[in-house]
Amino acid sequence: MALLRDMTLGQYIPGESFVHRLDPRTKIIVTMLLIILLFLVETFQGYGLIALFIGGLILLARLSPRFVLRGIRPMLVIILFTLVLHVFLSEGEIIGQLGPLKVTKEGLFKGGMMVTRLLLLIIGASLLTLTTSPIALTDGIEAILSPGKRFGLPAHELAMMMTIALRFIPTLLEEMDKITKAQMARGADFETGNIVQRAKSLLPLLVPLFVSAFRRADELAVAMEARCYRGGEGRTKMKQLLFTGRDYAVISLTLTFAVIVGSLF
């Protein structure tokens, strides 16, 4: 559970800053543009500019940089793994050797590049979730995907699934905690043993959790039907999304930035 608690990714920090008040669609589009840009750019100068851009957004959002950086922690293993793979497994000019492992100049360069890319990716994405409430995020995704409805894309259903998932995460975590304690009271041991034994000891947690999740799903479906839910057809929303001049300005600015940086670096 420690992983879920520490994840900044997906933890909304309420606020009234410029970034917070942007339409969720704007923030999703900006994040997408930055992600695409990160995969196009292949020089450190380019990354530097993107880092400056993201840093500017963090300032505008009035978030503490330390908190934003904390979001990297759960991803640290993946980042280190990427670095090690690149440094030791790339072909090229050898600048050091450690037994059978060769460190190459190209490897160092590529590894550094990938790590920078990953770091900026994580920070950029967590900036979106830190400044946008889960509901606004779901509404934004639904609105962005809704043109796809004509081609059979279930935009409303996807958004509803996300809403319900968000709604039930705390409920299921609480339940998991309860089951853990109940099983511990019966003498279950989750802490000792090797990885296989520990994975096995999770079974008596997961089975009751799944059974209860299915029962909850069933009851929720009945309750939703009783409240006249019949899919997205004919449904309205209490909160309307509204594009303002701010949103157009931010999108065009990001687009210009992306085109310039993307073509130069």
């Binding site: 889960p134 509901i135 809403t163 319900i164 968000l166 709604r167 705390p170 409920t171 609480e174 029962r215 909850r216 009851e219 929720l220 009945v222 309750a223 939703m224 039907e225 009783a226 409240r227 006249c228 839910y229 019949r230 004919g234 449904r235 309205t236 929303k237 209490m238 909160k239 309307q240």
Partner: protein, 257 residues
Amino acid sequence: MALKDIDLEIQQGEFVSIIGHNGSGKSTLAKLFNALLLPTRGDVIVGGKNTKDGDKLWAIRQQVGMVFQNPDNQIVATTVEEDVAFGPENLGLSPDEIGRRVDEALALVGMEEHRHRATHLLSGGQKQRVAIAGVIAMRPSCIILDEPTSMLDPVGRREVLETVQRLNRQEGITVVLVTHFMEEAALAERVLVMADGGLALSGPPAEIFSEGEQMRQLRLDVPQIVQLAWELRRSGIPVPREIFSINELVDYLCQYA
């Protein structure tokens, strides 16, 4: 649970409670009222509309709201106001109208100040009141509550029952309360006793709870206060049959002495 031979009519504005053992068919009966279940034989008519008529299904569910037992499994959204808005949104109302109805419904259940709170942080009683507000926001003429207090603590129970009584008295909303707490059943104007899928007894609480022998045969308890009143009557104190609450009995006994 199959039901049989039930002939029942509930008037607009009435407060009816349904009691009975597990498996007596009380929840099944409740689910027939808003077409979550359809009768295989016989008809259920809601405000002149037959629940078998597929075209009227959504009109019936708008008219007859339902609150369920488990507060966690009927709340859809992550914040209070979003959840109350869920029903009106399904009805396709305009954003302004939805906003108005959410205000109104939250005020009626006394949850205005929790409007922006996350639903999972509320107490059980508050969650049930949000669920009631979610139903009220659809402007139903009738609310069915299927054991709404069985998972709540005493404080939560009182909150929910007070809300339900207020909606019935002030707003004229018909209330059907399914419960296995006899004290709750006694709040209604009429008590229906279910047994083995049929209607065993029906009448005002004073009548139902005075039929000691019959209730005993159905293996149902009567409220403790009623039992005490029986004993008092047997020992010569003429306690009126309409007394169901501790306060009423205390008042009566103080005046009697």
